[in-house]
Amino acid sequence: MSFVEIKGQQIELDEDGFIVEPDLWSTDIAEYFAKEEEVEELTEQHWKIINYLKDYFKQFGIAPMVRKVCKDNNVSMQELYALFPTGPAKGACKIAGLPKPTGCV
């Protein structure tokens, strides 16, 4: 576990750099994570997906399956990786402040 200061707030991160207290998530934190995950700038397209992930998680208590992300947002896998080069799980979910996906590895 480690801490980073984002806009004056101490934010705890786990080893993988995921936020430990999802409730503390803010757009500032998203911006911070974005840099870590090789996203130059959070565009509207990025935000659409970030918000989608947050909403989905709120509603269902789980992260959506990648296929669903693509379908519901009308993006291809290629486009998704173009937006989030480190991928939907490590990249997009982290930026959206979701708990670390624990699916299969």
Partner: protein, 353 residues
Amino acid sequence: MARTDFGPPDYKTMLPPVIKRNYGKWLYHEVPQPGVLRHVSETGEELYSVRVASARLVSSEFIRDISDIAEKYCDGFLRFTTRNNVEFLVSDKAKLEPLLKELDEKDYLVGGVGLSISNIVHTQGWIHCKSAVTDASGLTKNIMDTMVDYFTGKKSVPSRCRIAVACCVNMCGACHCSDIAVVGIHRTIPRINHELASKICEIPNTIASCPTGAIRPNPKLKSVEINHEKCMMCGNCTVVCPAIKIMDPENDGVSIWVGGKVSNARSKPMFSRLAIPFIPNNPPFWPEVTDAVKHLVEVWASNARPGERMGEWIGRIGWERFFAIADLPFTDKHLDDFTHANTTFRSTTQFKY
């Protein structure tokens, strides 16, 4: 951006010329001596493969040493088997004896071919897996130390005997279809850190992860509950939710399963089935485990007919006879209680006393 999606090296660049020339043309093979295969081609050419044991978990030094050997005797060509042995591919018969000599001098074990006990297929254990109930490498080392004569051909077996070790019930390998499988198991119920769970638990996935439906949500704590009556201590929920822990050094241990097979040779593939429900973790030697494996191999080897795999032998004599001959207690643990349990109940008056 770095190069991506280029795949593994082209296998064609990794084959010795004799194989390239005789690819798809092999006619038959023989086992001139334990650990050595002689494949003969339609073209009359032949290839000697010399199989040596490996710990699987190896160092760069090992990699370089086998590379040295391959260069000396095999023009640099070698391969690994699906059970993690190393095979030196000798195209020049004259180099066979010198190779075997050097291997012997360097304490490489030659064997694992044909009617033998080949390398154990095993998993990460305490070396690398967070789910590990026991150490697969340590168990493997101990068991094979005991079984080594069956590898080298000094002792003989009626048929192949494939042993597998898995450090948890995920069974990363083919434990569920092995002649003998050693599998790490838990015996106590997971503990939930509700505080943590409320933050990071994907509750629906966690609920779905339970084979027996023992997990229900606890909305008050924003967490989950485990129904003790239903939990079978499989640990699957702990894979899905980091807030659930199941490790319990005092009660964790290993179970032994027998009679599985994968091949379609003669009989159909079979699942391994429970022989010994629990042996405590007793590193570094796990003496009870090695004894049990040795015992099982010996009982089988001295009772089975030539060519009979463990499961084929048991199939012929019946499980009730197996438990008697192997002198193993039959307990409530052996009775299946999962989904297809009733298909394992005996629906005939045919049995041996």
